[in-house]
């Protein structure tokens, strides 16, 4: 089976000729289809840079990036066939305040010229999937932070991408809502069988969600090590009190202290 995401010697330089910044060293990595991968690391380790490169928001300086076997970049042109396999969720929900919730969710479909009836039907079924049914006609400002983020996830899922890329999606939420959203995200992932790559700086969140954790270290950003999380699914919040969970968390924390 082709890898969902394949990076070959992908690196990223920022800055100017006089003051170059190596944001990410040449990186080789593969994400398998249906896998839940979490990118974890201290700030400045290039985890967001890496995710935004996979999402096609920034261009890699060198290397080759393939999504479901297709090249994401052809020269400086983003390949729409590869981009349509990607759904992005950001730290902020980034809903358009001038669109109702259902119109926000259906926006990608509208841009792809899907007829109104069909796309609103799709939006309605997605609000059920992410647990905000009944809020279709509301403005984004009328929803809580957690509900807005659910709508953002629904929008990313609307055109049925194979891969969901999430950049600290629950970072702006309170701890209780965050736990709840992690449970829901796990359910969503198990129900839909998508590939998910998620960025976080919370060790517990990483261990709770991931099949594999990619630990990144800063200056310059690079992959430090990859940790498997063999805990059985579905995981409940109580898994966090098990010795196995806490062992993984402890090892990761020690390693993080060493590298940051």
């Amino acid at each position: 089976m082709t890898a969902a995401i394949c990076l070959e010697a992908v690196d990223k330089w920022y800055g100017t000729r006089d003051k170059p910044v190596h944001a990410l060293q040449a990186t080789d990595f593969e994400v398998r289809q249906g896998e839940f991968v979490v990118l974890l690391g201290p700030s400045g380790c290039g985890k967001t840079t890496l995710l935004r490169m996979i999402g096609g928001l920034i261009t890699p300086s060198h290397g080759r990036l393939r999504i479901m076997g297709r090249d994401l970049w052809n020269g400086h042109a983003r390949q729409s066939s590869a981009v349509s396999d990607l759904g992005m969720v950001f730290q902020e929900a980034n809903l358009f305040p001038w669109l109702t919730i259902e119109d926000n969710i259906a926006l990608p479909l509208e841009l792809k010229k899907m007829p109104k009836q069909a796309r609103l039907e799709r939006a309605r079924s997605l609000t059920k999937l992410v647990g905000i049914a009944g809020f279709e006609k509301r403005w984004p400002r009328e929803l809580s932070g957690g509900m807005r983020q659910r709508a953002a996830i629904a929008r990313a899922l609307s055109y049925d991408p194979a891969i969901l890329l999430m950049d600290e999606p629950f970072g702006a939420l309170d701890a209780i809502t965050r736990d709840q959203m992690n449970i829901e995200l796990q359910r969503l992932w198990m129900e839909t069988g998508r590939t998910i790559v998620l960025v976080t700086h919370s060790i517990a969140e990483a261990v709770f969600l991931a099949d594999r954790i990619v630990l990144l270290s800063p200056r310059p950003g690079r992959i430090d090590k990859v940790v498997n999380v063999p805990l059985s699914r579905p995981r409940g919040l109580d898994v966090q009190t098990t010795a196995e969970f806490q062992d993984i968390v402890r090892d990761l924390r020690h390693r993080l202290e060493e590298i940051s």
Partner: protein, 274 residues
């Protein structure tokens, strides 16, 4: 030991009475009342001081002059001329202001190139251009439309630039991640997101367009409310002068509330529409 008596019943304490209803309807009573008082004072002053009606006519005379104006077809033609010059000027100001504002906000070198010119023409009192335009374009409607357009143009331009610059980077990221075309970004994000700003510019612009139309009618041509005002002044018809001012004020109100209605219709999602 002092034992305070505890009220075990679930009763709210004495809460203030609901005064929101009264406060909401109060302006509907107080504002007309204030108007009535002002008119009464004016009336009384004219009657007691014996001031010449050429300087200050009585409110009743102004009312009569205004009612006469409503029945005069000549005056209605003047109203129409002013409305046309204002709206046509405003229309071109919106087209030019939004059409130039979006690229200026997006292209940095364009902004840097044009900024000195924009600032220079901002500080120049634009009504000073009116005589020049009459020299160039004659006493016809063209010079009036142009003056109205130039006055309305700048607030619309500057607000459009501000609006496009204030677009959330996160919203742009969403559009990029959806692999949208340049036109889709303009149509679905930039225009929508800056619409509240553009409408704010239009609110200022429409009133300035009216001023531009009236001022250019002062100095040239033989129609329009501005022209009518000057001819009333020359004829020492001070009550008629007031009547034209009432017309102008009503026009200003109608234009302004037209734009406010546009705001509620186009941007019901924005705080400014609530």
């Amino acid at each position: 030991m002092i034992v305070t008596q505890v009220n075990t019943q679930e009763q709210p304490p004495e809460l203030p009475t609901d005064r929101i209803g009264f406060v909401r309807y109060m302006p509907w009573i107080t504002t007309p009342l204030l108007c009535a008082v002002l008119i009464a004072v004016w009336s009384l002053y004219v009657a007691k001081s014996g001031i010449s009606p050429f300087v200050l006519p009585a409110p009743s005379a102004v009312l009569q002059a205004w009612l006469d104006m409503l029945q005069s077809s000549r005056a209605w033609n003047d109203v129409l001329a002013t409305v046309y010059a204002t709206l046509a000027g405003f229309f071109w100001a919106v087209v030019a202001g939004v059409g130039l504002g979006v690229p200026i906000a997006r292209v940095r070198w364009l902004e840097q190139t044009l900024n000195p010119f924009i600032i220079a023409s901002q500080v120049l009192p634009k009504v000073a251009l009116a005589p020049l335009f009459i020299v160039w374009f004659g006493f016809g409607i063209t010079s009036k439309v142009l003056i109205a357009a130039i006055l309305a143009f700048f607030p619309i331009l500057t607000n459009t630039v501000l609006g496009v610059k204030s677009i959330d980077q996160g919203h742009r990221d969403v559009m990029i991640s959806l692999n949208t075309t340049r036109w889709q970004v303009f149509r679905r994000l930039e225009l929508q997101s800056s619409l509240p700003y553009i409408i704010t510019g239009m609110e200022v612009g429409i009133v300035l367009a009216l001023i531009g139309a009236i001022v250019s009618e002062y100095i040239g041509g033989d129609y329009g409310l501005g022209h009518l005002l000057i001819s009333r002044m020359n004829a020492f018809e001070t009550d008629g002068l007031f009547a034209v001012m009432i017309h102008m004020a009503i026009l200003g109100f109608i234009f302004y509330f037209g734009i406010s209605a546009l705001r509620r219709w186009l941007t019901p999602w924005h705080d400014s529409a609530r």
